[in-house]
């Protein structure tokens, strides 16, 4: 393969350089019916799972067919999306915040052929390329992070557990039988590139072993003061270490009981790796939300301290999530989000009904806010 220049001249990097131009203007990409009726929409309805209609003051309608997608997407797959959008939607489409793909058409007759086309497309193993759903009182697509496909600090994979979980929750992606929407999110370490800390159900990768110390290389690879400063619990201090061959080197020591396994030191210092096949795994959190509807936005709470990484399909994780959703579906009131339900019945009842073990790991002991999560009342349920 021969190098093909774009026109960029490395000897004169500033020549013809264009910078600071920002994104393309959104209006270039609006379908005509959107451009015409922007700001003048009257109402919307969900006609069936995955199919929405928005009606404008002008009487115009836009029908949206929503499909799930793996956010990890090849350009061949995107080209297929383009082919569908060219065929049915005049060459326009959009993505949602939760990695769904939305195809929009301007009349009802165009919906069925589009839907049929989408559902007819399958991958070699039988997976849908474009499953239709993700609307209303159901489970929509999981927002997630990179995991083992591209990140240096993950404690679990992202695309793998997401595929496994969505396979298990698929019926709730394509239906709307739940009391309210259930938002599932995954972050592959506690840096949480996604907003999993406010999700109905969050899958979170977590390390459980302090960093290993590559003493021989630590001072060569890292700025020791930066590694020390990176630790949120001040568990790292400078240390002189004698190597097996007798040489003395500058390195660090870790106060292991103080380590919260966040990996910030590793981000600053590659000679302090944390990853471990049995140490790493998954924390399950539940009951968060971002919407201000009825109750204020809530953080998710830790309900399972640890499941191992069981590649390729993470069965303990997916079974636990399925059980929580089934229990919620059977017990919660209409419009009640998972967290609102848990608060109404009480967390002691939540653990009982979801058949989850309550261990000491679930009682907050991280700094001041911990106190506010303990129970200061005589009111509890037997």
């Amino acid at each position: 393969m021969a190098f093909v220049s774009s026109g960029y001249n490395p000897k004169k990097p500033m020549e013809n350089r264009i910078t600071d131009i920002g994104p393309r203007h959104y209006e270039e990409f609006y379908p005509p019916v959107i451009k015409k009726n922007k700001g003048k929409w009257l109402y919307h309805e969900i006609l069936e799972p995955g199919v929405l209609v928005h009606v404008a003051e002008s009487g115009d309608e836009v029908y949206t067919v929503r499909c799930g997608g793996a956010r990890l997407m090849s350009v061949e797959h995107i080209r297929e999306i383009c082919e569908i959008a060219d065929k049915h939607c005049g060459g326009y489409m959009r993505f949602t915040t939760r990695n769904n793909i939305e195809f929009m058409v301007d009349s009802k007759e165009k919906v069925e052929p589009l839907k049929k086309d989408l559902l007819s497309r399958k991958q070699p193993g039988g997976c849908y390329k474009f499953p239709v759903g993700g609307t209303g009182a159901g489970v929509t697509n999981i927002v997630h992070t990179q995991g083992w496909i591209h990140c240096h600090t993950p404690a679990t994979d992202a695309s793998g557990p997401v595929k496994a979980t969505m396979d298990v929750l698929f019926d709730d992606f394509t239906s709307m039988r739940l009391p309210a929407q259930v938002r599932v999110s995954l972050a592959c370490c506690l840096n949480m590139c996604g907003a999993v800390h406010c999700s109905d159900i969050a899958i979170l990768g977590y390390h459980r072993k302090p960093p290993m110390l590559d003493h021989e290389y630590l001072d060569k690879m890292c700025e020791i003061p930066l590694a020390i400063a990176a630790c949120p619990t001040a568990a790292i201090k400078p240390a002189k270490v004698e190597l097996a061959n007798g040489t003395k080197v500058n390195s660090v020591a870790v106060n292991e009981p103080r380590c919260m396994f966040c990996g910030n030191c590793y981000t600053m210092c590659p000679a302090m790796p944390l990853a471990d096949d049995v140490g790493d795994g998954i924390v399950i959190m539940a009951g968060g939300k971002v919407s201000n509807r009825i109750s204020a936005p809530k953080f998710s709470k830790v309900v399972v301290a640890f499941f191992p990484n069981e590649a390729p399909r993470w069965p303990q994780t997916t079974e636990c999530i399925k059980k929580m959703i089934e229990t919620y579906a059977a017990d919660a009131r209409k419009y009640e989000r998972l967290g609102e339900w848990a608060e109404r019945i009480g967390w002691e009842r939540f653990f009982e009904k979801c058949e989850l073990e309550f261990t000491h790991h679930l009682i907050d002991d991280f700094r001041d806010p911990a106190y506010f999560t303990w129970r200061q009342t005589t009111q509890f349920k037997f």
């Binding site: 093909v4 959104y26 061949e76 959009r94 793909i101 997976c127 083992w148 239906s175 919407s291 509807r293």
Partner: protein, 437 residues
């Protein structure tokens, strides 16, 4: 014939949900065949090696990616994330596998014409693997080599009129909800404000000069579909001041069962006939509603605009006309000191071009944070460390009970000398004239 055996990943090629494994294999095959005779600028087998290294991670239960190292394009400090694998001999195709963040268009609307050109570019100069989209909102182009970075940037800016997004300690790529483009609940034009501020602050976006990352997110209404309240340092959330508009005939149609509640969102189960008292009036968090003699009454002054009634009866109830947004500040994920939601700072501000009032608030916050913020300290953490009062001083805003959940429960007020009559300078001898030692 696949380059690497992937027995673990292969188990993710069944089941109903789209398989990313099948998709990467598809791209691998496409590259191997190369029927369009593309002069690939990075290894042809990049996708095969990506599957190979991922299989190894599935086997080991550990990632095989190393730290970034400093790579980027000239003059920018963000937009490129360096990535190298820790088994380059086994997987030379992904020895370098850098990410480029491309600033997505507002509302994530696309023409296929644009998307196809991006596909062609990423086929030619990258792995052909993307994220649509990353958590922050960018188009993520996953996997290229160092020599390609400037070439890709040159093509993006010259051919596609398209810039990179943010990374590192800078303004991260702002993102917005679908907004007025296709939502009747949007209280302002999220795309217009997002676009304007993104362009206004290009320097802050591309050249890291902040203590840490800083995020803007634009939600058109309190439903917060882009989760601004949970993850943006400044959350711009649409709201209104006047009355919810009521169409009494449509209310009657909901009560009469002619219209499905919640826009049909609960159609998958028989929840029984719609009960306006149980499902709307009694769920109102402020109890500002009543249903009497077939008429829905709303005491709008007591309404906190939670959106529930509007969501249940979208054809009968509409947001008010006197619209604007609330500015909440300081949300972040748990690292380091625990998760924080955004806190109310400006309860209501009009959204009018050129948005000078909004920019004034932003810039005052930045001045304070850049002066006082420690390395890797998010705005929310600075607020906690120095107190909400410092934020009020920095922004020149007046205190308002809307900013708090409740007043303080301790009386430990840090009175300042100029707040107390006569100040703190006193004469102890004068005091002793009346009080013996």
């Amino acid at each position: 014939m696949a380059k690497h055996k992937t027995p673990l990943l292969d188990q993710l090629e069944t089941g109903p949900w789209p398989s990313f494994v099948s998709d990467i294999k598809r791209q691998a095959e496409f590259r191997a065949k190369n029927k369009d005779k593309i002069e690939y600028q990075i290894p042809v087998d990049v996708c095969e090696d990506l599957l190979g290294i991922l299989e190894l991670s599935f086997k080991h239960g550990r990632t095989h990616w190393k730290h970034g190292g400093i790579v980027g394009v000239f003059g920018y400090g963000g937009g490129v994330i360096g990535r190298y694998c820790d088994q380059p001999e086994m997987f030379p195709g992904v020895a370098h596998f850098h990410t480029m963040r491309v600033n997505q268009p507002g509302g994530k609307f696309y023409t296929t014409e644009y998307l196809k050109t991006l596909c062609d570019l990423w086929d030619f100069r990258g792995s052909g693997i993307t994220n649509m989209h990353g958590s922050t909102g960018d188009i993520i182009l996953l996997g290229t080599t160092t020599p390609q970075l400037e070439e890709i940037f040159f093509e993006l800016t010259h051919k596609y009129n398209q810039d990179l997004g943010g990374s590192g300690s800078n303004l991260r790529t702002p993102s917005d909800c679908v907004g007025e483009a296709r939502c009747e609940w949007s209280c302002y034009d999220t795309q217009a404000l997002c676009f304007n501020l993104t362009n206004e602050y290009q320097d802050e976006l591309h050249r890291p000069a902040f203590p840490y990352k800083f995020k803007f997110k634009f939600d058109g209404c309190p439903n917060c579909c882009v989760a601004s309240i949970a993850r943006a340092d400044i959350s711009f959330i649409g709201t209104w001041k006047d009355n919810i508009r009521v169409d009494h005939e449509a209310v009657a149609a909901y009560v009469g069962g002619e219209l499905a509640p919640n826009g049909g969102a609960h159609a998958g189960r028989d929840w029984g006939p719609f009960d306006i008292m149980k499902e709307v009036v009694n769920l109102c968090p402020t109890e500002c509603m009543a249903y009497k003699d077939g008429k829905l009454l709303i005491n709008n002054r007591e309404c906190t605009r939670c959106m529930h009634c509007i969501a249940v009866m979208p054809r009968a109830l509409r947001i008010g006309n006197d619209r604007g947004l609330s500015i909440l500040v300081g949300a972040k994920a748990p690292i380091l000191d625990g998760a924080q939601m955004s806190t109310m700072l400006v309860p209501f501000i009009k959204v009018e071009e050129p948005y000078d009032e909004i920019k004034e608030v932003i810039e005052k916050i930045w001045d304070w944070w850049m002066e006082e913020g420690k390395n890797r300290e998010r705005l929310g953490e600075l607020m906690k460390r120095q107190g909400f009062q410092r934020l009020l001083e920095a922004t020149g805003l007046d205190p308002d009970p809307r900013m708090v959940q409740e007043p303080r429960t301790n009386p430990y007020i840090f009175w300042k000398a100029d707040e107390v009559e006569g100040g703190f300078d006193r004469d102890v001898n004068e005091y002793r004239k009346h009080h013996q030692r």
